[in-house]
Symmetry: C2
Subunit: 254 residues, 2 copies
DNA sequence: CGATAATTTGAATTAACTCAACTGTTGTGG
DNA sequence: CCACAACAGTTGAGTTAATTCAAATTATCG
């Protein structure tokens, strides 16, 4: 038993909010360390979910917010005819389920794109704790506000951009998000398919494929299936110079 | 002085949250009446803004959330070249500025489409009050979550719909929103121009105009400039039957 | 190793756009 | 109060970016 509790404790230390490299993107940001400990106590850490596994489905009762620790998740809806519409891709430090607070039901599917570790934050507990920790309440509101901003940027992108600008914007967003998480900003693997990217950007998968080829021919990227290397970031950024100045931030989330 | 304070007091009664017909869509929803009074005390009610007046601009310091009492507002961004991209239209009971909590700056313009009365809710005060009134905190989170959901629906609409479906969806959304506010769901005036509608829906203004004409020719609508009458709601709804089932709610806000 | 799925590439089609002309409306100053 | 300018909306014709359909190629997985 001593051994068992020791193991749990080691596990606990390894994934504790107080040691988490993603803390600055997540709920603990701006909290005193004693308050981080209080937050810590309500967070559940289940076993990692495998590629293809569903985290939640539309209509599921909303109990918890989820934060990606490692891996990647896509959220999507489904038409009666069965085809998917990708709503978003979620990387480490990003939160899932904010749209479900509204009516206590999830509104989309969440599916792991690869093996993914997730922190589960029971929402009732989070609300109670937020009321007694002002900086936690503030950070929760900030994260929701970021989501609103990110989606507004997405709407703007879909409204006013060509296929080329959309893919460029998507790649720059990914690049920035990887950079902030300590990964390479110029050399990374796409967890999602061309189909998924197309669905997310409102493009046919063939269009996405053609654009990857074009960017490669122009020397902007080197693409080999899921592996993307950005060779000329300036030129990539140049492709979307005609965007609105107000939401210029390429990084759409935290 | 007695007279002066009396006038203010009458004014105050007339627009009080506790008497407001929009309370069920707004922050007071779910609050005990004594808590509504506490909320009431932090809300500022400035003189109405006139058509064309700007409420806030990108980069403005964020101090308050705004709720429309009467009238209508559009939010939009501007490209360096000066053309507008409409982000949203806001009717009575709808909240402005949620995207600004994130970084303490507004990210878009807000402009009155007609004479508009507005409640200003200083955000610092609202946060403090939320911490001591659990149901207020919950309602604020719910309103933000609604915004996230509404924007997700908009993204889905822009990603997967034809021009016809977009305009149908827009009209149904407006209709629902008017209905909940006690106005006619089938007979209303558009506060915004064809240009604005086009910008919001990612369509050319000519396309919007042509669609209004087509809907009229088909007997679905009767359109006369800003005046819209929905003659066949079933057929209008039928135009977007191929949407995703999860976010089926036509009404995008509250 | 074979089968299924993902990706690439080509060719034809189309929905929506741009450009352009015209009409109707609104508001302003002489 | 009217005339005229500026703006908002409609309609038409040609163009185009991205789609759909189709086929070939390349991974991935049991």
């Amino acid at each position: 038993m001593g051994t068992h509790s020791k193991v749990v404790s080691i596990d606990g230390i390894k994934v504790a909010c107080s040691n988490c490299s993603l803390a600055s993107l997540c709920l603990p940001f701006g909290l005193e360390s004693e308050d981080v400990d209080r937050l810590e106590r309500i967070v559940k850490r289940n076993r990692p979910v495998q590629r293809g596994q569903i985290l939640f489905s539309p209509g599921d009762h909303f109990r918890s917010l989820y934060v990606i620790k490692t891996g990647a998740v896509k959220t999507f809806t489904q038409t009666p005819s069965g085809d998917e519409h990708v709503v978003g891709f979620h990387l480490p430090g990003e939160m899932l389920g904010l749209d479900a607070i509204q009516d206590d039901r999830h509104g989309c599917f969440a599916k792991a794109l690869e093996t993914t570790a997730i922190c589960e934050v029971p929402f009732d507990n989070l609300e109670q704790l937020s009321a007694s920790i002002p900086s936690l309440q503030h950070q929760l509101l900030r994260l929701m506000s970021k989501e609103v901003s990110a989606e507004a940027n997405m709407i703007s992108l879909l409204n006013n951009s060509t296929a080329e600008e959309r893919l460029a914007s998507f790649l720059i967003s990914l690049s920035e998000r990887f950079r902030r998480r300590g990964f390479s900003a110029t050399d990374f693997f796409l967890a999602m398919s061309r189909q998924d990217i197309g669905s997310y950007l409102g493009l046919a998968l063939e269009t996405v494929s053609r654009l990857f080829t074009r960017f490669q021919d122009q020397g902007i990227l080197q693409v080999e299936r899921k592996h993307v290397r950005i060779l000329d970031m300036d030129r990539l950024r140049g492709l979307l110079r005609h965007q609105t100045p107000c939401h210029t931030q390429a990084d759409k989330r935290s």
